[in-house]
Structure formats: C-alpha cells, structure tokens
C-alpha cells in the first residue's frame, strides 16, 4: 500500500513540476501551429532552446530580466521568420523537414566548441549563472512550505516560486489563446486549416496569417524554454528532437485544437510515465527488466502510444473530431 501512496505522490509531484508547466506552454504554442493553423512544426524544441539561450545569455551579460525576456522573444520571432519565408508557401511536409533541421542547427551551433564562451558548448550554462534576477523577483518569504504532501523551498532553485510563475504562465497563455481563437483572426486561422484556397478566395493573405501563427506559437515556445531552464540548466542536448516529439505526443494526447488539451496532455504524459516506470520497477522481476530498462520500457510505450493515438483517436482526449487538422 505504501508503494501505491508513494507512487501517487511521485506522480502528483511530477504533474505540478516546472518542467511539466514548460511542456504545457510549449504544447500550447504548438497547438497554435498545428491544432489551429495546420502547420507541421517539428522544431518546437528549437524555439525553446533559442528562448532559453536568449534569456540566459542576456542575463549573464548583465541585462535586466525583462529585457532578457524580450530578447528571448525576439530570437523566436526572427527564427520563425527565417523558417517561414522559404517554407510556408510549400506543402506541409517541407515545413516539417525544414523546422526539424533548423532546430537541429540551433542545437549543433549551441553545443559547438567554438561557442564555449557564449553558450557553454555541450556542457551548457549552469542555472546559478542566470537564475539570480528571477529569484530576486520572488515576493514569497524565505523558508519552506508544505502543502498537502508537497514540500518545497519557497523561493530556492526548484521551489514554489518557479512553480507559481510557471503555472501562472500556463493559465495566462491558455486564456490568451482562448481569446485569440474566438477572434476574427482565429477564425481565419481555422479556415486556413480547413481549406486554404477557400480563405484565399475571400481575399485573405494566407501566407501572412500563417506567418503570424508561426511567430506567435514560436514565441510561446520561447517562453516555455525559459520556464524549462529556470530550475535546471541550459543544456542543448536536452532540448533536441526527442523533446519536440514528446511535445507532439503531449499535444495529441490531450487533444489538438482544444484550449485545455495541451495542458492536460503534458500532465498526463509525465504522470503516466512515472506510473509505468514505478509499476514496472515494482512488479516485473529484476531478471526480466532491470531498473535502467524500466526507463527505456516507459519510452517504448510513449512511442507505441503516439502511434495508437494518431491511428485510433487522432482528436485526443479533449479534441473535437470536426476540428481535426490531419
């Protein structure tokens, strides 16, 4: 019994962790691309990495935190423009290949030894070097707080403050998307997803709308990147292709083209993986599956789940079959 209580606690702890919040925000950004506009962006982790670099490097250079956030957003905007100009007029899968390649370029340049003085190369930038201004903003008193079974420092490296900020951003961005999608602008986006030519025949500049969607979703991705690195480090290899694929899994699981889908998807993605690992570790004998293999087993299930999801329930948990982008 203790095992199950412990497992439940682990699952809820990961569910409210800052990295889950970051995944949720990234998935919300991707939802604008894919769910509402039908753009196959396979480089969301690249936007996150750029945001993280932009933020961390600006702070290390001594700029104030709000300027640093603006720089992070600026990086994402430029990246979106660079990606969008050659590809948004082409068929969807070109965008997929170009975005995934561009995200890899960002990662490879970031981890290159030539950039050691700026990005810290493959070792990355340690959290202490850029976290200061963020923790200084905290209005929480010093010390530790326990709520239910969650005990964290109020402000520390990985405490309540970053959780509070992370989940507030999730709420804020969700609300923003809710408003935007109900606006005339959002209706055009969904129109592009359904029938590009029809929207073009109404005199709308489809290319410009797609570009705006790419920029907006990418900027949200950059914010996700900042949240992701605040309690840890900026490590280029942790924000590679796999991360993009996991964000996709979270989005499709929760339901693309729905407001709460990405958030629910991210929470379930992390919690269920912990569940699988925990159960496999507890009930499958060591001789069949050792502790390292339970980790890999959980990722195999993620891959299989992604396949089954797309085949049998492409609208995810919260999505609407009529709003499908496929």
């Amino acid at each position: 019994m203790d095992f199950f209580i412990g497992l439940l606690q682990d699952m809820t702890q990961i569910a409210i962790s800052p990295s889950t919040a970051a995944f949720a925000v990234a998935a919300i950004g991707l939802n604008i691309h894919f769910g509402y506009t039908g753009l196959l962006n396979m480089g969301q982790a690249g936007f996150m990495l750029l945001g993280a670099y932009g933020f961390a490097i600006s702070i290390i250079a001594g700029l104030p935190i709000f300027v640093a956030i603006l720089i992070a957003l600026g990086c994402a905007v430029i990246f979106a423009l660079v990606l969008g100009i050659p590809t948004l007029k082409l068929r969807g899968d070109y965008l997929a290949i170009v975005t995934i390649s561009a995200a890899e370029i960002i990662r490879m340049v970031g981890r290159s030894s030539l950039m050691t003085n700026i990005t810290g190369a493959a070792q990355g930038l340690t959290g202490n070097s850029y976290r200061g201004p963020f923790t200084d903003l905290s209005f929480l008193p010093a010390g530790r707080t326990t709520l239910l079974w969650f005990t964290y420092d109020n402000t520390g490296v990985d405490g309540w403050w970053v959780r509070l900020v992370g989940w507030s951003v999730v709420a804020l961005v969700s609300f923003l998307v809710f408003l935007l999608i109900r606006s005339p602008w959002g209706r055009v986006l969904r129109g592009i997803r359904e029938d590009e030519d029809a929207i073009r025949s109404l005199g709308k500049n489809v290319y410009a709308y797609k570009m705006q969607a790419l920029i907006l979703g990418g900027s949200i991705g950059a914010i996700a990147g900042i949240i992701y690195v605040l309690p840890s480090t900026v490590q280029p290899d942790s924000m590679g292709r796999s991360m993009t694929f996991f964000i996709w899994t979270a989005l499709l699981l929760g339901g693309a083209a729905s407001i709460f889908g990405p958030v629910l998807g991210a929470v379930i993605f992390f919690a269920v993986r912990i569940l699988v690992k925990g159960l496999a570790g507890q009930f499958i004998p060591e001789s069949i599956m050792n502790s390292q293999q339970t980790e890999q087993f959980s990722w195999i299930l993620v891959g299989v789940a992604l396949m089954l999801l797309v085949i049998f329930r492409p609208q995810g948990i919260l999505g609407n079959k009529r709003e499908l982008s496929f």
């Binding site: 196959l40 100009i85 050659p86 590809t87 082409l90 068929r91 969807g92 899968d93 070109y94 997929a96 290949i97 170009v98 995934i100 390649s101 561009a102 890899e104 370029i105 490879m108 340049v109 981890r111 290159s112 030894s113 030539l114 070792q123 340690t126 840890s232 480090t233 292709r241 796999s242 694929f245 996709w248 899994t249 499709l252 050792n290 502790s291 390292q292 293999q293 980790e295 890999q296 087993f297 990722w299 195999i300 993620v302 891959g303 299989v304 789940a305 992604l306 396949m307 089954l308 999801l309 797309v310 085949i311 492409p314 982008s325 496929f326």
Partner: protein, 453 residues
Amino acid sequence: MTAHSEKLSRTPTLRQRAIVAVLALAGALTLLGATAMPALGAEAPCLADVSNACIQGTVKMSTGAPAVGVDITVETTNFSKVLTTDKAGKWVISVTTAGKYSVKLDPATLPSGQRLASTSANPASITVTLHANSGAVFKLESTSAPAGSSGTSSTAGSGITWDRFLQQAASGLRLGLLLALAAIGLSLIYGTTGLSNFAHAEQVTMGGLIAYGLANVLGWNLILATIATVVITAATGWTQDALIWKPLRKRGLGVNQLMIVTIGLSIALQYTFQYFVGAGTVRIQQDNPAVISIGAVTLTLQSYVAMGIAVIVIVLAGLFLLKTRVGRATRAVSDNPALAAASGIDVDRIIRLVWTISAGLAGLSGVMLGLVLNGINWQTGMQLLLLLFAAVTLGGLGTAFGALAGSLIIGMVVELTNLVLPGDFKYATALVILILLLLVRPQGIFGRKERVG
C-alpha cells in the same frame, strides 16, 4: 498469415511470399536472441535519481577500439576515487553530492602507442547536478600522429592542403555512398506512398545491430552475417508494410497522420534498441581494422570494400528500376499511383516490394556504417536521419536517382566542411544547404515543379 490468406488469389507469388514470411519470423527470433545476450553482460549501471548523479565516460583509442584498464581519478572536496575502464573502455561512478568535480586520466596507464590528444583537457573539470548524468571525454591519439593534430574531425585544420582535401573528399564519397543506400529507399517510399518515413533511420540502426548480434555475439562469418542481416531487415520491411502501413492505407489515414505514426514508431524502435543493447556503442568486428593508403587517401580496408559494395548495389538498384518490368511499374506508381492502378499495375504489391527493398538497403547501409564508423549504437541512424532527408529533398522528393545525387552532395559537404570549420558544424552545414536550396529551388535538383503544392 497474410501470405496464407492470399494464397488463392495470387498463386505465382505464393512461394516468394511464404519464404519472406518465414524469414520475417526467423528474423524476429534472431533479433530477440541476438540482442538479449549483451544486455545480460552489461556493467553495473548507474541510474541517476533525485539523490544521486552519474559521472561516466568511455575512453577510446584513436582507432576507435576501447582503451581497457585506464585509471581515472574522480575528485572533489573530501572525496576521491580511482576507477578503471572496463573491457568496453567505460567507466562510471555514482556520486551523491552535486558540485564541481575534477576527473583526471592517468596517462601512464594508457595502452601503448596512445597518448592524450590534448593535455590541457586533463584533468577535466565538470559540474555535476543531481538527477543527471555528466560525462568527461578524453580524446586519445596515436603517438605516431604529429603533436596537436588529433587526426579526427574534432578540430578544424590549420590551412587547407591538397592532401587533406583529397582525404576529406574520399571520406565524403564514402559517406555519400552509404547514405545513398538508405536514401534511395526513403525516396522510393516517399514516391510510392507520399510518406516521409521518420523511422527509416531506425532500419539503418537495426541493420548494424543485427550484424553486431550475428557477427560479434554469435560469431558468424562477416559476409554471411551481412547477407543474413539484409534478408532479415528486408523481412522487417515486408512485415511492417503488412502489419502497419497497408492496413493504415486502407483505413484512409492522411500522409501527415502517417508521418506522425512513423515518428512514434521511430521512438519505440530507438528505445527498443536501447533496451536490448544498452546505450553504448557496439562493434561489429572486434579486431582493429587494417588501414590502406592510396596516394594521399588513407582509409580502412572495410571502407574500400563498403564503397565497392555500395556502388554495386546502387547500380543493381538502378538497373532494376530502369530495365525490369517490376522496376518500371515501381517508377510508374511513383509517378502517379492512380494512373498506374488504372493501367493494371497492382499498386499494393509494388508498395510492398518497395518497403521490402528499402528496408533491406537501409539494413545494408547500417552494416556498412557500423563497419566503417567502427561501431554502431542505438542512435546512429537517428543522427543520419536529417542527412537522409536533406539528401532526398536536395535530389527531389520521390526521385530515386535524385536521392543518389543528393546523397553524394550531402556526403561531400559534410566531410569537406571539416576543412574550414570544426567538426561540430559538419552536419549543420548540410542542413543549412537544404534550407537555402528550398529558398531557390524547392522541388530539388531533379524534381519537377508541379510536385510542390
């Protein structure tokens, strides 16, 4: 079972189908048997969790073989431990405090004929955070190499000499040919089904790992193992189409949906490889490869053989596409599936064949890469996937000969980049070229304009 139920309708191909089905089963069993074994012999793993962290690394000789018995000292305030590399050249330690650690390699314990490529990197200083893995890398070089040049791609050379150019161009040709083996299949699949197959790179990895299982673990003759690998991987292609892709086509899934299914498959396969073989690099051949110099070009014997085999197979594939009835039918389906079906071509059969051949070619490419790169690991294919896509897009999506040309260009670009930029950038330049090309000629070099929407 599919073969059985279709027995009545297509008697001429019955025997082939039965053979392939049996091979598929045999392949799956061999794969399980071959890959389960090394997992048992894996060293005590270090698993990072909230209370500890792993520091690890692999020391390899300049030839790529593991350096065994090298002493590594891991130190921090009030903590010091000496480790020795195991038979795979690996060392790992679990620590429970975060902070700065110094990792020092004892040069006196290095195998004879080897020295550190850069003495300034020893001791290495690393920052360890709990719940994470950290590593320290020590590059070795042969004592016969001139001081300062590590001989590998990690440093940008000072000055471009004609000899270096030739050497890199030869490596580029080698990479290009091996990429082409896999890219032709990727392109054929795209041409016949419209699918960008993200799991194609996993077929490459699978080829290398099966060859490792057969040649290294089971001790088969290398040539026999290679042939068996190609047959097994081709069978996996056949099974994949029978079990996944054909039913999904019948279900009417869109190409974008299918593309995400391949991403799921690719994740599942990657971690399956890791599950059985572990995260380390395994070698298909244990002994160190012989090196042969032709003029200024020095490559391993395997490289020459691999290039030769690749050329032969590519020529055969080209002849098949141009000269045989089935080959012509394949190109017809690639051009326009509806028209091909209307003119009496069995499109599903052609697609099944394309999957089989593509997976087989990718498997062969994996074996060759494993031999040429001195080892293969669970992500060898994944690292090549984008180069494959770049090659295929460069040549024109869906054109087999474009894929060949694209692969050679990408291979050259990747290796020649080393002349002017550090090795970190070699894959990046290929991708930059891809993006630039899409700006000016989105249909690729050999593609036709109407293919692009």
